[in-house]
Symmetry: C2
Subunit: 379 residues, 2 copies
């Protein structure tokens, strides 16, 4: 972020620069860069890093980095830019958010990026589709971020929970947490998630519930509803002094294994020592193997990715064990475990029914019912 003293000078200069209007995903990426959550990146990647990331999951200097953070633009925008000059980065609503030092303008090699990053070229994949729809040119260079918040205001910014990495690290120091487990989520916390969080919490000093609130695909539960679920479950079922709720403004790519690595590196920046990786982390549909996002960590050393991945399997209530269990911790007996599909749960919620207490905490179910009933009602 640019110091306030320099911001006005930059704003004045920006008025005469060529302008790039960012997509929602690019706005998220810009914020992640600006707050240090994408460290060591200080801007959008240039051609060497782009190629190295796509082919080797590393920056050109060898540092692990799994997904290129790109500023894609269309032909007309590209024609107005020049290497060695600056450009103004605008929010879709017109807000000036940053200035980029354009160090490279290069063709967007989608044929390289898409299969490498997503493991598929199927345009039904929301992450693939997003790249396909982007501009055919990429602009690389460091950014000077003036603001991360658009003029239009955004009801879902969760400012009080929006701590940048420096602030979460400061908070962990203050709390005396040297072992911090981070939990990435873009879903409400049902008992299965609560169980993973608490297993991690038992072996750490504290838990960072760190929901992704950046751009997600249509059909995902809105971030404000999810936040209400997190606040509710923490209030009733977690220990305040051991639990921190903060938001993570990245956009989802649904890139499965590669995105799991990205999510881990981000949490390292936020000061976590451990990172929960469940089955099909950051996946969508059937594009990735259940444990691909866990196995990919074997391609890096502990010194390269300094957060320890905590690899969990699917958990559910077992009547015979009288507790939450996974395939690792309890012999499976046909029909013993309480399992509900996402579709089934949505149907129950839309009818105003709480799922069983073994599946969802009633307080969380009530938050979801309020949303689901309204969402199901004709507009």
């Amino acid at each position: 972020m640019v110091p306030e003293a320099d911001a006005q000078k930059l704003k004045d200069a920006a008025a005469s620069m060529p302008s790039i209007t960012m997509s929602a995903k690019q706005v998220c990426d810009l914020e992640m860069i600006g707050i240090g959550a994408f460290s060591p990146l200080e801007g959008f990647v240039g051609p060497d890093d782009f190629t190295s990331i796509c082919t080797n999951m590393r920056l050109s200097n060898g540092t692990p980095w799994p997904i290129p953070i790109t500023l894609a633009v269309d032909d007309a925008t590209k024609d107005a830019l020049a290497e060695g000059k600056q450009a103004a980065l605008h929010h879709p609503d017109g807000t000036l958010m940053a200035v980029i030092d354009v160090t490279s303008i290069y063709a967007h090699d989608k044929k390289l990026e898409i299969p490498n990053v997503f493991g598929t070229e199927d345009e039904a994949h929301p992450g693939v589709k997003a790249v396909v729809d982007e501009g055919d040119w990429l602009v690389g260079g460091p950014v000077h971020v003036i603001t991360t918040e658009a003029d239009s205001g955004d009801a879902e910014r969760f400012e009080s929970h929006r701590l940048p990495p420096a602030k979460t690290r400061e908070a962990f120091d203050k709390l005396g947490w040297s072992r911090v487990a981070a939990f990435q989520t873009r879903n409400p916390i049902h008992r299965a998630h609560e169980y993973l969080c608490k297993c991690a919490q038992e072996i750490c000093d504290g838990l960072l519930v760190h929901p992704l609130v950046g751009e997600t695909k249509p059909g995902d539960i809105p971030a404000d509803v999810r936040m209400k679920c997190y606040e509710t479950i923490i209030e009733h079922y977690f220990v305040d002094e051991r639990t921190m709720l903060s938001v993570m403004p990245a956009a989802m790519r649904y890139a499965g294994p590669r995105e799991a690595i990205l999510h881990a590196l981000i949490r390292q920046n936020y000061g976590a020592s451990h990172f929960i990786v469940g089955r099909d982390h950051a996946g969508v549909g059937d594009y990735y193997g259940t444990y691909d996002a866990q196995l990919i960590f074997d391609q890096f050393t502990r010194d390269e990715i300094m957060v320890e991945p905590l690899k969990f399997e699917h958990a559910a209530w077992s009547n015979r064990a009288q507790g939450m269990v996974s395939a690792k911790t309890f012999p499976k007996i046909q029909g013993d475990q309480i399992f509900l599909s996402g579709t089934k749960v949505r149907e129950m919620l839309a009818r105003g029914e709480r799922p069983p207490g073994e599946f969802s905490r009633p307080e969380v179910a009530d938050v979801l019912i309020e949303w689901a009933v309204n969402a199901a009602a004709p507009a």
Copy 2:
């Protein structure tokens, strides 16, 4: 261990050597050395290591080692020995177990050992008492172990579960377990212990239930009863392919924090990557602070003690959480948790009553009832 081909030669030679009859604790220590569980020790410590261990928790070469493994002898035995010569080590029943190359004979500095190792000089402490009662001379030197099993036979040797470190490592490789959590125990597994084990199991590939079956103090539950508890709970409540039961033949010192370090180093030798450290690990009475055995790990780097300590708090069933919880994972509500004292549980068992299912699995309770009812009956 001495290769079988050389054993006979050594036995013949031993006949003309001075003899040391070992205590039960020394027999345990000899076995631990012989099987490689006390690696890098290859024998009983000499004076430099003794002093360095007592004062710095390290061998004289700097390697972490918290408790001196000593061969204490009385005046008469000492007078028959000579530095540079060998001596025969016998089991109390007369069995020749090993030969020691005597490299040092030195005064047993109990005034240095006791307060440093145990943090107290109170003879009511069973570990302190054992050292006080030992001989006033120490014999140092490498040992050549001929056998770890006395002629008298021992109903509680658990041979089928008595894997040396090389064999557990081999088994983990075969099972594909790279992350193995070891659980040290000298108590039956109630639900609280089961919970710690399963939390660890969720984040690892497998669990090594690794009960200490060496010398313990009177009043501890006999090893054979405990083994039956472990087998029973594993049969009914653990996943076979993720759980290994093996015994660890060390003697207890009840040295709390220092013994926690010893137990961790031992498990490193057995091939574990993680080690469960509960509250008051290896403690007795009120000699140690609840978390001293966890905090002591901060005095070593991750490269020095390569197993990761998993530091757990006391766990119990919570009615409101409908699950096992600790102070880390659930807000405490007065009277919500099911807690029973050890004394209370013993009383129930002796009356033939099962503790509540939230405290003990009924199958385990039945094993303990069978033992407790017999133990309570007049002889």
